[in-house]
């Protein structure tokens, strides 16, 4: 492998080269085995401290990062938005300055404002990992999606990968679009017109409002949750009407390609974007995604930890 990881931060997939993405995926492949050992831990990040700063609710991503940190022997601290001093009026920057003063080595940040982790990464010597910023990016989710596809299909290039649902508010879709197109996959995004971002073609993806067209010959269908917390304004007449047009169920999958993969970043609204029988059926790799997320996050922590040390020495 000739590519080396030289970035202090992972804020998104937008800037990553195909080689860098593959390095993360290959490293994750090597780290997978640790979670199958009797002692599920390696000493690699012993003495390093990671702060998990979740200013927006999260279960799966937070647990996944926390476990990844522990499996690499890092010390961890957690700050949740609802319990932090930001509710007392402290600015994000001040909160971060305070955490930096505790000599933390890495920060995992989730924030409702798009670009917040990028800002922190620029102002801090600490390594920053974006765990989801607004509607912008969720790089580790996209990396674990790509890892899962590569595990199941042996490759990414040339595959047809459909994203169905709320593309407009989806940082998962955005990160995936950057990453998948860079690795040569054919991406098509599908949803009601109101949930498709304007000029989404600029990502180098195809766009359709017709579910049939999206899933025709698809190797992978990645479903996006209908995000009720972001639905203050109405994007479609009713949940039922959305489900009628865009739900993935056994009926619409009648002509699915053999070996199709159904993915979902979770949490799933059963019976809305995805029917229960398909979610629990043979195409579904949703729980593999969760398992793989651990190895992918360990890989990111490992790769960034080397660069952090360099900053320290200079």
């Amino acid at each position: 492998m000739t590519v080396q990881w030289t970035r202090k931060d992972l804020v998104g997939l937008q800037d990553l080269s195909a080689g860098e993405i593959e390095l993360v995926l290959d490293t994750a492949k090597s780290l997978q085995e640790i979670s199958l050992r009797p002692i599920k831990k390696v000493p690699t990040l012993r003495g390093r401290t990671v702060a998990n700063l979740f200013f927006e609710p999260s279960t799966r991503t937070r647990i996944s990062f926390e476990l990844a940190e522990k499996r690499l022997s890092a010390d961890t601290i957690h700050v949740a938005g609802s319990t932090s001093s930001t509710v007392k009026g402290e600015t994000l920057i001040d909160t971060i300055r305070n955490i930096e003063s505790l000599k933390v080595d890495m920060m995992v940040v989730r924030h409702s404002a798009s670009g917040a982790p990028h800002r922190l990464a620029r102002m801090s010597d600490v390594s920053v990992i974006n765990a989801g910023d607004g509607i912008n990016e969720h790089p580790t989710q996209a990396l674990l999606d790509m890892f899962t596809i590569r595990e199941k299909k042996g490759k990414l290039a040339g595959l047809k990968i459909a994203f169905v649902g709320d593309i407009l508010h989806s940082r998962v879709a955005r990160s995936n679009m950057w990453g998948l197109t860079r690795l040569g996959a054919k991406v098509i995004v599908c949803g009601p017109k109101t949930l498709l971002p304007p000029k989404v073609e600029a990502f180098g993806v195809e766009v359709t409002t017709d579910l049939k067209e999206a899933i025709q010959d698809a190797d992978v269908i990645n479903l996006l949750r209908i995000q009720s917390e972001r639905q203050a304004q109405s994007y479609f007449p009713s949940i039922r009407e959305y489900a009628n047009s865009y739900q993935i169920n056994s009926e619409v999958l009648k002509h699915a390609k053999p070996g199709l993969l159904i993915m979902h970043p979770g949490p799933v609204n059963r019976g809305i974007e995805l029917s229960s029988d398909v979610m629990d059926g043979p195409y579904s790799v949703i729980l593999d995604q969760v398992t793989n997320g651990l190895a992918v996050r360990m890989a990111v922590l490992y790769l960034l930890s080397g660069v952090r040390a360099k900053v320290e020495k200079e």
């Binding site: 780290l31 050992r37 009797p38 002692i39 690699t44 690499l72 490992y302 930890s305 360099k310």
Partner: protein, 182 residues
Amino acid sequence: MNSSKIILSSEEVSKAITRIAHEILERNPNRTEQIALIGIRTGGAVLAKRFQDTLQVIAKREFPLGILDITLYRDDLSEVGPQPDVKETKIDFDVTGKIIILVDDVLYTGRTIRCALDAIIDFGRPECIQLAALIDRGHRELPIKPDFIGKNIPTSKSEEVYVKLREKDGKDEVIVASKDPV
């Protein structure tokens, strides 16, 4: 490469492997069924496979074989990055109660072996771990001693020892060369 010298020829490498295989069986009489091999990536893993093949011919039984990547256990990871590539560790058998023959190509400072010992113990509790290396070049920095050695070579720290193996380099050969061509 200036002033390089062949230390072991292809034939001598084969002889050393066969001899060490016999020594492993002699050292562990009546308990060959407990013997398992673990090779340290990359050279040690290739050698461990050779030992496995040779032992199977001599003892007429199967021996489990694992591959170990010690990167995650290195004591110099906090030094200047970027991080070295991590390759997969593959130990598909239970190490508990086994006589583990840990295999490396060149024994030098002993730091790699320290990593390997820590890693193996994360997989279980072997009855014992014995160390086999094709070359012992000295300069130990830790109290580690081999059980089986192909050849002792006095070297200076400015020299490099290259163990070439046909599986990865096309032929078997051990070369000592000065590190920095003047």
